[in-house]
């Protein structure tokens, strides 16, 4: 093998043939082009003329060059050129291909897999057994070296994981046995344990490393600073100044995920950390679910926002706030100070605050609410709000919750309250009792100096004990709570200021508010409170940074979340606990990125795959193409491709133009052709009255419907002045319906639901006076049709139709007398119930009249299941196609079926004409009265 740059030759000796090219040049030059024979009468004039130049007409240099190139290409082709020949890397024995497969790999995973495939190809040529392992998800057991083809078939299942290889990989590598070479596709990031891993691999054989020197960007968890959300982006390697765009993504009010805001994070040159600051209004900030670096597809470039980012909205309402008072005695002063650092406070009239839908409403010594306010607040609490009430002089003086239970009060109160340890009372101020185990405050230390001097008292009650979540040392309730709907009502039996107790002055007050989820906890979860809790993953990130909702993953113990280190048992994502959600992010708040450093003994290569590409075929093809061009050029040169060729070329061009023009003009023709059948359809449908049936797609049903309408048409022509033409089948999707007075629609269980456009057409048809006769053909509409498949289909079909209320045909419906006097409407079946538009409720029968003065117009639908078409159906020779009943009774039934059909068509065509009172005398006579 001879290698020249990226080219290699398998048979380099053949290249000596190139030396023969100059000789060929001379020979080609010497040989004149073949003469052309011409008949020419003027030869006589030419005789004796000699050529000026003794030298023959030379083949032009470019043609020579073309031929030489063709010959050279052939020589080169047979010398076996190969682009990017694989260097002889040698090596034998088993080969371990280890991939980091971490989140940093996700962006160019396909490239990595390509690289692995190339490695497998090489191993296949060398006959080495191979094992492919992802270090983020080390396979159970050791390495099982197998055929590269088998390893290759398992490649698609290999995917990056949204965490970094951890100790598991190290353990796995150290447990490997036997000798093998290792090829390590690194993600390029330095992390602890890499040296140990390398040592474990090196103990087994040589190690080669592939990694690409590309930029890796990641995001640290978002933090709030001075009301701004700051997201720190980190990068490696630190290079010149660059800018990364960080997007805040969340749900918009319509529930659609979109980018809510974006901010640049500008890395100064040489700096590895940059900050993107978002100044978001609280409403928007609470919607943010995650931040991500725009254009980066990796889990590291995504950081999830959990509840710690949210600032709760707390509405503060105090009773009598309009009073002038000392600042420190104001009912809300301590609350405001306790809550302000990590919540958004709303103050104002209660009627304005409830619509703002805050998370918490604090009522400090508010006794009575107006009726509407009560209702609003109650609705809000039931919808998940937390109503936090504080006692005070007004509450103590009022009758709220005194005799009856007030839903906005967790317990009933005794009148007055009590004072202890005051100037006018006995005893010492009371201290707090330790919190019970079932209390949300359990675990909080009770300071000795918190005393309560006055409180409102709860009415002793069997359910009182369950409501108490904090009590005084003498057992009287201090904080009570009750659930209301999805929310809860909490009452502090003391004031929110220091008037009644020193509780608001203590740190305990703040912690208690935190425990009540009034304010959010700053900082991360603490080990004590996480112990024993179980958190369920709600959404997890994949390595590419996509958030996926999961509901099949097992819960995670709370201890694991204290200092979260994502791994197979703790995929990054959102974990829901009892009262809040915690995010586990790929990158921690203190993490930095650094490029992996390898000892100099380890060869490092790029990821780019340079596949061997044999060029023989291409060169031979090029030679063939050059020779083809040579043929044409030689012909052209010797004049054999002269004018006739030009003419045929122009003819070909004309042909191409004609074809193009034809192609362009084709759509127009096609349109013209399209309009043909439509017009024909319209003409056919409007030449005379045509009965139509809806094509269901079931050939049997469609045939029966056509035959039935044909039979009815013949009866109509024979007995009435209506002489319909041959009935037509109507495709709802395609055909215009307006031409038909009545549509017969046999319902089959499996016919398709028409499209919206078809329904629009149908509704227009119904509104403009058309009638549809629905026939479920099951004789079972008496059971309201819901029992048969056809009945259910009918409901589905009729749902989008604009149909008025229906009723069974009343006895005096005009359908009973438009032509024949009928009371039954049988088809093949004789079910009584057929349904038509309901008559107006105020229709009254006039005394002495046989029928009411009923609604104008034509009922838009007639619904039944008597299979009329089958009763009407006649063949071409006029014979009935389906039997109806038995004997004479059956014939009678068929006759009545025809009469129903005649009446129906008459009803459609004449409307309520027979409802007119003018016909009363004649009808009375016919009725035999």
């Amino acid at each position: 093998m001879l290698t020249l740059g990226p080219l290699g030759f398998t048979a380099p000796w053949l290249l000596l043939g190139l030396a023969a090219l100059p000789v060929l040049w001379l020979i080609l030059r010497a040989v004149p082009p073949a003469p052309i024979r011409r008949r020419f009468p003027g030869v006589a004039l030419l005789l004796g003329l000699t050529d000026d130049e003794a030298q023959t007409d030379r083949t032009p240099w470019w043609l020579l060059l073309l031929r030489m190139a063709a010959v050279a290409a052939v020589i080169l082709a047979f010398a076996g050129p190969i682009l990017n020949p694989r260097a002889e890397e040698g090596g034998s024995g088993p080969l371990l291909v280890a991939l980091d497969a971490s989140w940093a790999d996700a962006r160019d995973w396909a490239q990595r897999i390509d690289r692995v495939e190339a490695l497998l190809d090489e191993a296949a040529t060398d006959g080495r057994p191979v094992f492919v392992a992802a270090l983020t998800d080390p396979p159970a057991g050791g390495a099982v070296f197998s055929d590269p083809a088998a390893a290759r078939s398992a490649l698609p299942a290999l995917e990056p994981k949204p965490w970094a290889p951890g100790t598991a990989a190290q353990d796995w590598a150290e447990a490997l046995e036997g000798g093998f070479d290792t090829i390590w596709l690194s993600d390029g990031l330095d992390r602890p344990g890499r040296a140990e891993l390398l040592a474990a691999f090196e103990a087994r054989g040589s190690v080669r490393v592939y990694q690409s020197p590309r930029q890796v960007l990641a995001l640290r968890p978002a933090t709030t600073e001075d009301g701004q959300v700051a997201v720190q982006a980190i990068r490696t390697p630190t290079g010149p100044e660059t800018e990364a765009r960080v997007a805040a993504i969340g749900l918009d009010p319509a529930g659609i995920e979109r980018q809510l805001a974006a901010a640049p994070a500008t890395f100064a040159a040489g700096e590895g950390v940059a900050t993107a600051a978002f100044d978001l209004p609280p409403e928007l900030r609470n919607r943010v679910t995650r931040f991500e670096v725009v254009g980066q597809r990796s889990a590291g470039a995504v950081t999830l926002a959990d509840d710690s980012l949210r600032r709760r909205e707390i509405a503060l309402v105090a009773g009598g706030s309009d009073e002038e008072g000392l600042e420190l005695l104001a009912p809300l002063y301590y609350l405001r100070n306790a809550l302000e650092p990590n919540a958004d406070l709303l103050e104002g009239p209660l009627s304005d605050l409830v619509p703002a839908n805050p998370d918490v409403i604090v009522l400090a010594d508010v006794a009575t609410l107006s009726e509407t306010e009560r209702a609003e607040v109650e609705d809000w609490v039931r919808g998940g709000g937390l109503l936090l009430r504080f006692a005070g002089p007004r509450l103590a003086a009022s009758d709220v919750g005194r005799t009856t239970e007030d839903v906005l009060m967790p317990v009933r109160l005794r009148a007055g309250g009590r004072n202890v340890g005051g100037a006018m009372s006995w005893g010492e101020p009371k201290t707090l009792a330790p919190f019970a185990e079932d209390s949300p405050f359990y675990g909080l230390a009770v300071p000795e100096d918190v005393t309560v001097g006055a409180q409102v008292m709860a009415q002793p009650d069997p359910s009182l004990a369950a409501s108490v979540i904090a009590q005084l040392s003498d057992g009287t309730p201090l904080v009570t709570r009750s659930a209301l709907g999805q929310g809860q009502v909490v009452l502090f039996h003391v004031t929110a200021n220091a008037e009644w107790s020193t509780l608001p002055l203590s740190g305990l007050f703040v912690r208690m508010l935190e425990r009540l989820s009034v304010s959010t906890r700053p900082g991360a979860a603490e080990i004590e409170e996480m112990e024993g809790t179980v958190w369920t993953p709600e959404e997890v990130l994949d390595a590419a940074g996509r958030l996926e909702r999961v509901d099949t993953m097992p819960g995670v113990p709370g201890e694991r979340l204290v200092a979260p280190e994502p791994g197979p048992d703790l995929p990054p994502g959102l974990y829901a606990g009892e009262d809040r959600r915690l995010a586990v992010n790929v990158i921690g708040a203190e993490d930095t990125l650094a490029p992996a450093a390898w000892p100099s003994r380890i060869p490092i290569e790029g990821l780019a795959v340079l596949r061997e590409l044999p060029l023989k075929g291409w060169l031979l093809a090029a030679a063939a193409a050059a020779l083809m061009i040579d043929v044409i050029a030689a012909l052209a040169l010797s004049g054999k491709l002269g004018r006739p060729a030009a003419r045929s070329a122009s003819r070909a061009a004309a042909l191409v133009l004609a074809v193009l023009a034809g192609g362009l003009s084709q759509p127009r023709e096609a349109r013209a052709q399209e309009s043909g059948p439509e017009d024909a359809f319209a003409v056919e449908a409007t030449e005379s009255v045509v009965l139509a049936h809806v094509l269901t797609g079931d050939p049997q049903v469609d045939e029966t419907a056509a035959a039935g309408l044909l039979g009815l048409s013949r009866v109509l022509a024979a007995r009435t002045s209506v002489e319909p033409a041959t009935p037509m089948g109507v495709d709802l999707e395609r055909d215009e319906l307006a031409f038909f007075p009545v549509l017969y629609w046999p319902v089959t269980a499996d016919q398709p639901i028409p499209s919206d456009a078809a329904y629009e057409k149908l509704n227009t048809y119904l509104r403009s006076g058309g009638m549809i006769l629905f026939d479920t053909r099951d004789a079972d509409l008496g059971g309201f049709g819901s029992q048969t498949p056809e009945g259910r289909k009918l409901q589905a079909l009729a749902l989008p139709l604009d149909i008025p209320p229906l009723e069974p045909v009343p006895e005096d419906h005009v359908l009973t007398r438009t032509f024949y006097l009928l009371q039954d409407f049988p088809g093949r079946y004789n079910s009584r119930d057929i349904w038509v538009e309901a008559s107006p409720p105020d229709a009254q029968a006039v005394e002495g009249m046989p029928f009411r003065n009923l609604n104008d117009g034509v009922t838009p639908v007639v619904v039944g299941g008597n299979d009329w078409a089958a009763a009407w159906a006649v063949g071409e020779n006029g014979s009935y196609l389906y039997p109806v009943g038995r004997g004479m009774a059956g014939e009678r039934q068929r006759e009545i079926a025809f009469r129903f059909g005649v009446n129906l068509v008459m009803h459609v065509l004449t409307g309520n004409y027979k409802s007119d009172q003018v016909h009363v005398p004649a009808l009375l006579e016919r009725l035999g009265q």
Binding site: P32, G42, V43, A44, L46, L47, T56, D57
Partner: protein, 291 residues
Amino acid sequence: MSEAAALSLRAGAEALAAPLPPLMAEASELAATVLLGEHGRRRPGTGDDFWQYRPAGPGDPARRIDWRRSARGDTPFVQDKEWQTAQSVMLWVDAAASMGFASAGQPAKADRARLLGLAAAILLVRAGERVGLASAELPPGAGRPALERIAARLGESHEGEHGAPDLSLAPPYGRALLISDFLGPLDAVEAALAQATDRHVRGVLLMVLDPEEEAFPFSGRTIFESMAGTQRHETLQAGDLRGRYLARLAERKARLQDLAALSGWQVSIHHTDRSAAQALLWIHQALGRRA
């Protein structure tokens, strides 16, 4: 003559005559584009056209008196007609192999020559002249039968590379029309003209050339072969020959002009890509010109 031989003769004659009706029709059509005129001898004599009235003199037969004219005066008048004599025109149309050449899209020179020849014959016969066909040794004849004979014989093609005119049958003081490409040896033409001049025959030469023969649009290594294949010339660079070929062609035309001028003939050159009517008009005028 056996029946079979008669049948084959007839079949051959029909095959030969097949192109004639179209040729005849085409030639008649062409001839119709030329209006007859100035055919009389401009003196009284026998003829059909009115020439003059003159007072009847002694010797004029009484039936020649034009009574309508005489009735306007006292003197009897006689109507003289213009003297019209029939002229003998000998037609020679070259039908040798070289005339068979046609460049793409153009009619063969022979076809054009035949067409022009027959059209001229039609014109002449219509004018009452007698026309003969020298190339087929048809002596001059008058009227439609002569025309049909000419038409029948015009289709024949001749052996040989170039035709040689032979005007030995031309009556003295007659006229002659030679149509050829005159690419062959001019000695034959010269001899024929000398012979004709000796017998006081005047006439016209029409040189029919194909546009390619004028342009010589060839290049590259070419072997030129004559139409009958008797002559060939090979060149390595046909393009280089153009100038010299054209010079030779011009020389030949000049020689033809010289020959004609010496013997009082007229020469014109017709290209097959031009309208035939133009050539016919020239022939008509050239033949009608007083010698």
